[in-house]
Symmetry: C2
Subunit: 128 residues, 2 copies
DNA sequence: CTGGATCCTGCTCGATACTG
DNA sequence: CAGTATCGAGCAGGATCCAG
């Protein structure tokens, strides 16, 4: 099974925060849940594009351990599991937005314009 | 030599931003330079605690490529090289501060209180 | 449908030695 | 003093198969 890192070497609150939504998939999951509200496991996997089950399941576990998302399972056949942001999870959205806005100012100066798939990702965040 | 990642898989401005100050050392370097203003290579290494030359030099190169820090070398014997934040580099400080503040609200709820070395790192950021 | 188990790749980071 | 060169470990993340 894919094991998340054990020793964290967190030196200050800043690094605790970066660990919450850093890494390859966490910010994407938070973004999508912020936009869609509630998603099933399979829908989440479809939104992530190219994530594997092992990694998705492990990432979801980390986000649950950090109380960013919540899991709700229904006792049905076929099984149904839904994920949504917690209050704490929603509270990181403004931070992600501010990073977005900061990047929007500077990323055009960057020679390699790798940022193509979404020019402004503010649309991801429903301003509920 | 330590080679930074080649393919970035940046999907949106948010991820561009996270890449700028994510990773193990970048945020620490930005913090220290924000606090101290200008630092020589050796002082920087001392502040980082346990960083090796290979990793420090590579990280500084990345930060220079992203125009977050600037390098100034003086033609002296022994050689002297100093690093300081650019305007763009200083502009990320408010973002790091907001992450700090957000973490301050939540990290106490976390069972393992790994955050010991600095309880509030706002002191790092000179409000010039 | 929602994952777990297992194995594997490749990058991130570290240790050590060396140089202008 | 301020790095570079080289080697290597360990972990984040990936591929594949399988189970309740």
């Amino acid at each position: 099974m894919y094991q998340p890192k054990l020793e964290k070497d967190i030196r200050c609150p800043l690094e605790y925060g970066l660990q919450i939504f850093g890494g390859k998939w966490k910010s994407r999951i938070i973004c999508v849940l912020a936009e869609k509200g509630v998603l099933r496991y399979s829908s989440l996997r479809k939104e992530m594009v190219n994530i594997t089950d092992a990694v998705l399941a492990a990432t979801l576990k980390e986000l649950m351990a950090d109380q960013i998302i919540e899991r709700q399972s229904y006792d049905e056949i076929p099984p149904r599991v839904e994920y949504h942001l917690t209050h704490k999870g929603k509270s990181v959205i403004p931070i992600l937005q501010s990073i977005c806005r900061w990047s929007g100012v500077y990323h055009r100066e960057n020679s390699q314009s790798v940022i193509s798939q979404c020019q402004k990702c503010d649309y991801k965040f429903k301003t509920e």
